[in-house]
């Protein structure tokens, strides 16, 4: 075991500050790196040291591996915390850290690489015992093969372009008759869009929920889960709002999903905090989607209901310390919700960078704000539009919604547009309040509120 005395934080904004808070609590010195556009950022202000690593564009600064490593060398740090985004899931970066004898706060680079390749991750996690969505493992060769597979899977199925994304080359098929024509159209679309006509089929879930399990695994074969987060409220695969626990899970299902996630992590030799994302269908069956090998944006909802400090756990694990507690020690209390406050037009989602002329952050019982903004801060146009996370905790989901509502009302950010009004509308939405929503929620919500 090797205690860290100084850590470099290879990130910016709220997560860089978040990591600094925990380092301060642990008595670990911090080095902030920053672009020229971020000189006046709070992560620079509150770190013990700071190094300018390049120009404003991410590629020249936060994604510039030689600069980050050089900054780590001149400041002589023991470890690098990558946060989320930027270099957090770069197996190449983790490898260089390993080569330079700087501890990368994350799993081994080989595990990052495996989880970064969707096909390999799916295969590895299936081998490790996680259920995956029934489908064709390889591109389809013929309509006959597809029909046989589809009968085995059960209708509806979805035909997908192997090289696909963004909804192109996708067709939902509800009857046997529809299969042939759907394959043809999908393949044609795929050729047009991706110059690759390969298609495969998979079970189609009408109204899935996005449920993810937070795990913590040390380097000594100990692993626990901290329950789930429900991240079904998304707009084009961008999470807007997360909550824990999920309104859809029973204690039995939570136990089942958690145990499966833990077993899989142990099988692949995972260490660090990690998140296993599942699709949950209407009948309570869950399927592995992907694993994130870093801290997540939405980790605070888990921290609120478990009183765990996930960043502290990451650091202790990277130091080589055993977890020191077991699954029985993890207790989930109350309900937490996080709203992502983005510098965006809440109707069109167009980015809204600029000067924050005034800001009032909410406080009082059960409210947590993770942010790096302040009155007079200029939101730069170069990076992610998320400027704050507003998290609430209360005894019940109903109380948490009421609390979020009043916290959103008391959160005033002027000079730029934010998603605060959108979140206020979601808090008042009957389907959200009922907890009976899927990843289709935002589509439905926009349709229901379309006239506005």
């Amino acid at each position: 075991m090797r205690r860290f005395s100084k850590i470099l934080i290879a990130n910016r904004g709220e997560i860089a500050c978040r990591i600094i808070w925990t380092c301060k609590e642990m008595g670990i010195r911090t080095v902030a790196v920053h672009s020229e556009a971020d000189r006046d950022s709070l992560h620079v202000r509150f770190a013990d040291e700071s190094v300018c690593i390049g120009a404003a564009p991410s590629a020249q600064s936060y994604l510039n591996i030689p600069s980050v490593i050089a900054a780590a060398e001149i400041t002589n740090v023991d470890a690098i915390h990558p946060g989320y985004g930027f270099l957090a899931e770069s197996s190449y970066f983790a490898e260089i850290c390993e080569a330079c004898n700087i501890k990368f706060i994350g799993p081994r680079s080989s595990v990052i690489r495996m989880m970064g390749d969707k096909v390999e991750a799916r295969r590895a996690m299936q081998e490790a015992g996680l259920p995956i969505l029934p489908g064709s493992p390889d591109p389809l060769q013929s309509e006959e093969e597809a029909l046989t597979l589809a009968r085995g899977i059960g209708f509806p199925v979805i035909v997908k372009a192997a090289a696909g994304g963004g909804g192109r080359g996708m067709r939902i098929v509800r009857t046997e008759e529809e299969l042939g024509p759907a394959m043809q159209t999908a393949s044609n679309e795929a050729v047009a869009a991706f110059k690759n006509g390969d298609i495969y089929i998979e079970r189609y879930i009408e109204r899935p929920r996005h449920i993810e399990i937070q795990v913590l695994a040390d380097e000594h074969g100990n692993c626990v889960h901290l329950g789930e987060r429900d991240c079904s409220v998304q707009r084009r695969h961008q999470k807007l709002l997360e909550e824990a626990p999920s309104p859809a899970l029973t204690p039995e299902l939570r136990e089942q999903m958690g145990a499966a996630a833990v077993a899989a992590c142990l099988r692949v030799g995972y260490s660090n905090a990690g998140t296993i994302e599942f699709l949950l269908d209407e009948d309570g069956r869950f399927y592995f989607m992907e694993m994130n090998t870093r801290i997540q944006v939405e980790h605070p909802v888990t921290e609120m209901v478990t009183l765990a400090d996930i960043v502290r756990n990451q650091i202790r694990i990277a130091e080589g310390e055993p977890l020191g507690y077991t699954q029985q020690d993890v207790i989930i209390v109350g309900h937490a919700i996080e709203c992502r406050i983005n510098a965006e037009n809440p109707e069109t989602f167009a980015p809204s960078p600029g000067l924050i002329t005034a800001c009032n952050l909410p406080g009082g019982p059960g409210v947590r704000v993770d942010t790096a903004i302040y009155p007079g801060y200029f939101v730069p146009p170069y990076y992610d539009s998320m400027i704050a996370k507003l998290i609430v905790h209360a005894r019940t989901r109903e109380l948490a919604i009421a609390r979020m509502r009043r916290a959103l009302e008391a959160m005033v950010i002027e000079g730029i547009k934010t998603t605060i009004p959108l979140h206020l509308e979601i808090m008042d939405d009957p389907e959200f309040r009922a907890g009976a929503y899927s990843t289709k929620f935002m589509e439905d919500f926009k349709r229901r509120n379309g006239s506005k």
């Binding site: 202000r45 013990d48 040291e49 190094v51 300018c52 030689p66 002589n76 007079g376």
Partner: protein
């Protein structure tokens, strides 16, 4: 509206952005005064001063507890005077005057600054040396690689801001050149 926007910017630029041109000379001295209390990094760097185009000081910024209390980005108008001795003012203006006449060669990368190709050899340039755009002025080591830095200007070297073996950050002034 425009007038108010200006007010806001004035207000914020004052306490908030010590890094900006108007205040950075004061800031440099504030850091210097704090230097004795500032802890020194294990590498032996005297990590106590702000990077700036005036100060021939190490690049890594150390934020002491005192600075955190008084030099907050959104710091109000009273923040700096309270922690900055009055004596910084005249010095500050002389520093300002100097930068106006010199062109600074800045570091394009983060790393360790070396004035000569090897510990036993002569420095690439000295005060008084004439440089051309393709003159090698120093080496910056990053990730075990020795990167030769070119002058990229024509003139006579007047000032060397960085000590041999010191770490430098992106954009940090290395040499002052009279063009």
């Amino acid at each position: 509206m425009e007038e108010l926007r200006e007010l806001v910017e004035l207000f914020t630029s004052h306490g908030l952005t010590d890094f900006e041109l108007e205040n950075e000379t004061i800031r440099v001295h504030l850091r210097r005064n704090l230097a004795p209390q500032a802890s020194v990094a294990p590498s032996g760097l005297a990590v106590s001063a702000m990077p700036s185009n005036q100060a021939p000081a190490p690049p890594v910024v150390t934020n002491t507890a005192g600075a955190a209390q008084s030099g907050m980005p959104q710091g109000g108008p009273e923040a700096n005077p309270a922690t900055t001795p009055a004596t910084t003012k005249p010095e500050a203006s002389s520093v300002r005057a100097r930068t106006e006449e010199l062109y600074d060669i800045t570091s394009p990368i983060v790393g360790t600054f070396y004035r000569s190709p090897s510990p036993t050899s002569e420095p690439f340039i000295r005060p008084g040396s004439a440089v051309e755009p393709d003159t090698v002025v120093c080496i910056i080591e990053a990730m075990k690689l020795m990167n030769e830095i070119l002058a990229e200007t024509t003139g006579v070297v007047e000032k060397i801001y960085v000590e041999d073996g010191q770490p430098v950050e992106y954009g940090q002034p290395l040499f002052g050149v009279k063009r």
